[in-house]
């Protein structure tokens, strides 16, 4: 089994984009605040559509928000 890991910069990007609250971001992308909390803490990996929504909410590309690290990188 590999040790693939998806990290993200959602928390930092929230503060860089006018100090968005978790609730404001959640409303923007159509999820609950708890989902944003789970994504920020790395306990939940979002689906591809949600990842795109988050990236668009920050006006960034998906790879600016999410980083994939596997054994080979």
């Amino acid at each position: 089994m590999g040790s693939d890991r998806l990290s993200n910069k959602v928390r930092r990007l929230r503060f860089d984009n006018g100090e968005l609250t978790q609730q404001q971001l959640a409303d923007k992308v159509g999820v609950t605040r708890q989902t944003i909390i789970a994504i920020e803490s790395g306990r939940y990996s979002p689906s591809l559509p949600l990842a795109f929504k988050l990236a668009r909410a920050f006006g960034a590309s998906i790879e600016d928000v999410f980083q994939f690290e596997d054994e080979q990188t």
Binding site: V31, T32, T35, Y44, S47
Partner: protein, 142 residues
């Protein structure tokens, strides 16, 4: 508290009350051995038999429209936990009398609806409890 958690608390409370009423009714009927219990059974069983279909239909629509993707994942995981809990429960409740009483012994008939109601209760209870536990585990730094 999210809608999923509210729904789980509502289910937990509702199914507990219904479970207690159902089991109490069966035990009462068994104890008094009254005839004409068909009316009571119809009152209990018709809603029970009809409700799963309506429940699944309404629940499916509401899950898709009201809950977000993480909640849907929690919901489906909790369904698996409920199925596992139900299997364990049924294995215990059906196999224990066999081992304790032996293969040639008899059990009272009221044991069958009791298993049925208890199985419904256990499945719903474990499902709701699993949702609440999983939500709590993910929300602990919220």
């Amino acid at each position: 508290m999210t809608k999923l958690q509210k729904s789980a608390w509502f289910n937990l409370a509702g199914i507990t009350v219904l479970g207690i009423i159902g089991v109490a009714a069966i035990l009462y009927m068994a104890k008094t051995n009254t005839r004409g219990v068909e009316y009571v059974l119809i009152c209990i069983f018709v809603p029970v038999l009809v409700s799963p279909g309506l429940y699944i239909y309404c629940r499916k629509k509401s899950i898709e429209s009201r809950f977000d993707e993480r909640e849907r994942v929690i919901h489906s995981r909790s369904l698996m936990v409920a199925a596992f809990g139900l299997t364990i429960f049924l294995a215990c409740v059906c196999m224990l009398p066999f081992f304790v009483l032996g293969g040639q012994n008899v059990i009272k008939v009221y044991y069958l609806p009791l298993i049925f109601f208890s199985a419904l209760f256990i499945a719903q209870f474990v499902h709701s409890a699993a949702i609440l536990v999983m939500c709590a585990l993910e929300d602990d730094d919220g």
